[in-house]
Amino acid sequence: MAQFVPTFQRKASRFAALSLGVVFSLALCNSDAQPQAAAQDSVAQNSAVERGRKQFEQSCGFCHGADATGARGPDLVRSPLVAHDVKGDLIGEVIRHGRPDKGMPPIPAMTDEQVADIAAFLHARAAEALESASVPKSYPVEKLLTGNADAGKEYFNGPGGCKNCHSPTGDLAGIAAKYSPIELEARMLYPGDRKDGPQTTAVVTLPSGEQIKGQVVHADDFVVGLRDASGWYRSFARDRVKVELHDPLAAHGELLGKLTEADVHNLFAYLESLK
């Protein structure tokens, strides 16, 4: 969605920059677009991570925490050694020889496969920390449903002024089925994707008094360009005509500054009930 682009780009560029593992690349990319071999690799990788998780919990979790964020021993998600490790080449050394000076016992019996699995798990944990700079589209609705739907309905019909443009049996019928909960919350606040939504329109009054109405293609301080009723593009220098712009989303913009946190969550609870 348009409003998410800057966020996504920033996150993606940071993520791409840090080649700390490909485990979570599926979460970022459309898996359908991936070659089949890559998909299989990814499945294999995921199994390695799961085996590694169990192995880690059993052999290392007591000191490093089951999630590797540290307990008596250091946090390994932030570990420079893990960051430099490639498929267990550094991690394996530490596991097998221990860190006697710091009280870590050696585990010489650990097999190559077990080391590789633990390494895969730790790299996955590091990647997860990187990936934490995003909100998954499959965000659990329970986390979002902290408001009161009835209060939301009241706000919708009352102070919010939502009913002036929207109806739960009209344009919003089944809206909760149309969007994922997290998308619905964002679109409820500001429906940013305007391609399939309502467009800004303009009324241009020429010096002769003639009026031209249409959908705005471009508007800045100097020019307004629009598609008139015939479908043809027309443009005008703004210092020679009178221009009135009508932004159908203006009410959303104004509401952003007025909504309390409670209003947001109540309204969301109400819209989420419109399945």
Partner: protein, 609 residues
């Protein structure tokens, strides 16, 4: 030899010099491409001396060498020159140490701006140019991630291009620093590279920080005498921010100042004791600071703490993240600090330029420092001791409940990121960001490209947060250029730039002009006193950097990058030669930071009260 001979032409003492100087320049300019001068030499030597043509050639050769001789001079930058404000050049990221981005040049001015014309364009075809070029001795030096160019500042032709592909974040690059004949360039893999300004060859290359840990670098270093000051970026992982001073000759580390104090040191009490949070607390130093040579204080803004949106594991103010700090540039020791966002949980780095100027405050002349901060507040401090003078929102915000006795905004608890989402203005991109602000001593106004930006902040971390621990979704943004009264932070005028987030920087000049761009691809020249548009041009792309200007051959150039093309604007020749053209000799003697508003100027009334 000839390939790097550039004439160093001082400002002419009289207009009568114009013709000959231009001719000399032309010869040297052609010679620079290794054709004209060499051909003359070759032909003179190849032809028999007895022929008339040979004698003419020899004469021409002698004439050529005589003309060139005075111009074979060092092309470098004496660091002592930086101690005085730049007048006709642009030798540092901000043009001078003050960070005002005000140029005393006025050849291009409010009276002739309508005649501005294109001199040349230089496309880099690599990435958007976010850097501000340096201009030293007729050469522009600028960068994108992994790339540096030296470009003829008169004609827009490439002199050299340096490229070094690297791992690391390529989000943007702000520019270079120069010391004598050397350039300093930071890289996406957090290296500092010293290049020979003559040809772009590498002199040395040192690692500032480990890129495998998530560090990278985008900033333009700052040269102070024999220190090259460099900061680092990277808040996707929980690493410790720092500022380095390197030896310009060798790259050896002179000092390192960590954003988070060592455990047990003053400031460490603002972090939890029984955890490693302080050593993973972020606070990146990713924008170029400013410097007061008189006080010998280096001013730097620090970034957000880590984990970014999840503050639970780091209770306390988290010093010295989201702060303006004053350091001794010779030792790296902290002299004073001011925190703009205590315990930040919104990614509101306080790295925006700390702008230095001297002006009257409550009836007394003061040495001031002003910052329009990413959190939406404008701060004015006494830069001698960090005393807080002004805190005022420069745009709507919804996150602060009040300002405390120390001038720090206090966050509402409900504005903190939450699992169900907290609607907050501004979003994490901030009410402003890295784009350059400006202070114009002629108007006494501080200018900032500001935004109204609503975002919903989600806390996603469960268990111990690592990295960001959440994210915000931008909902709606609208940009506006604001002129602020530095005495109160009140908005004096407002110029709308359109929907979405502007990242266009600002330049003001003695020509009573303010340069920036709107969000529709128009470059703008505004009246700095009123915000009225005096000139605009649709460039078909966005300005994602900051404009700069310089004077060469008695001609003022205005450089504005639009996406991946550098554009140079000048006045048409007949206007430059005309009587209205004024070089600003008088401004050469202007003392550093002076607020040199002409007495009696209408916009000066407030200043003198």
């Amino acid at each position: 030899m000839l390939s790097h001979v550039f004439p160093t032409i001082k400002r002419p003492s009289s207009r009568a010099n114009r013709g000959p100087r231009r001719a000399r320049f032309c010869l040297a300019g052609v010679g620079e491409r290794g054709s004209c001068g060499c051909r003359l030499l070759y032909r003179a030597l190849a032809l028999p001396m007895s022929t008339m043509q040979g004698r003419v050639m020899l004469l021409l050769l002698v004439f050529f060498l005589v003309l060139c001789a005075p111009f074979v001079v060092a092309q470098g930058l004496d660091p002592a020159a930086l101690l005085k404000p730049a007048t006709d050049t642009w030798p540092t990221y901000n043009g001078d140490y003050s960070g005002r981005r005000f140029s005393p040049l006025d050849q291009i001015n409010a009276g002739n701006i309508g005649s501005l014309t294109l001199a040349w364009a230089f496309p880099v075809r690599v990435a958007a140019i976010k850097s501000t070029p340096l201009e030293v001795n007729g050469i522009l030096y600028f960068s994108t991630p992994d790339n540096v160019w030296a470009v003829d500042a008169r004609f827009g032709r490439e002199i050299w291009h340096y490229e070094r592909r690297s791992e690391g974040d390529h989000i943007g690059h702000r520019g270079l620093a120069m010391y004598k004949n050397w350039l300093y360039f930071t890289t996406p893999d957090a290296h500092m590279i010293c290049l020979d300004a003559k040809d772009g060859t590498v002199r040395w290359n040192v690692e500032l920080a480990d890129p495998k840990l998530g560090y990278f670098a985008t900033m333009a270093p700052l040269v102070i005498r024999d220190h090259v000051i460099a900061g680092v970026s990277g808040d996707v992982t929980d690493v410790r921010g720092f500022l380095d001073s390197l030896d310009p000759e060798t790259g050896a580390l002179q000092w390192r100042w960590y954003t988070e104090p060592d455990p047990g040191q003053p400031g460490s009490e603002t972090w939890p004791k029984e955890s490693d949070a302080i050593l993973h607390g972020g606070g990146m130093t990713w924008m170029t600071g400013t410097y007061d040579p008189g006080l010998n204080l280096l001013y730097w803004g620090t970034g957000n703490p880590n984990p970014v949106l999840a503050g639970e594991g780091r209770p306390g103010d988290n010093l010295y993240t989201c702060s303006i700090v004053a350091l001794n540039p010779d030792t790296g020791k902290l002299v004073w600090f001011f925190q703009t966002s205590p315990h930040d949980v919104h990614d509101w780095d306080s790295v925006e330029t700390p702008v230095l100027f001297d002006a009257t405050f409550q009836g007394k002349p003061r040495k001031l420092l002003a910052q329009a901060s990413r959190n939406g507040f404008f701060f004015v401090l006494d830069r001698v001791n960090g005393q807080h003078l002004v805190t005022a929102p420069f745009i709507d915000e919804t996150w602060a409940s009040r300002v405390d006795s120390r001038g720090r905004p206090v966050a509402k608890p409900e504005a903190a990121p939450s699992p169900d989402g907290a609607l907050v203005e501004p979003g994490s991109d901030g009410s402003t960001n890295w784009m350059a602000p400006s202070f114009d001593p002629q108007t006494g106004l501080f200018y900032v490209n500001a935004r109204r930006l609503f975002s919903i902040f989600y806390l996603t971390a469960t268990g111990k947060a690592e990295g960001w621990g959440g994210r915000d979704h931008n909902l709606w943004a609208n940009s506006t250029l604001r002129a602020l009264d530095y005495r109160t932070g009140k908005v004096v005028w407002n110029h709308e730039l359109g929907n979405r987030e502007s990242i266009a920087g600002i330049l003001t000049t003695a020509g009573h002009l303010l340069f920036t761009a709107d969000n529709s691809g128009n470059l703008l020249a505004l009246d700095p006193a009123t915000g009225k548009t005096l000139w605009h041009l649709n460039m078909g792309g966005r300005l994602v950097a900051s404009p700069m200007t310089y004077l060469l051959d008695d001609r003022q150039y205005l450089i504005i990058p639009v996406e991946d093309i550098l554009y140079a604007f000048v006045l048409p020749e007949h206007l430059v030669a005309g009587p209205q053209s004024q070089t600003t000799e008088t401004t050469n003697t202007r003392p550093f930071h002076s607020s040199s508003t002409p007495p009696g100027a209408p916009w000066n009334k407030g200043l003198t009260k």
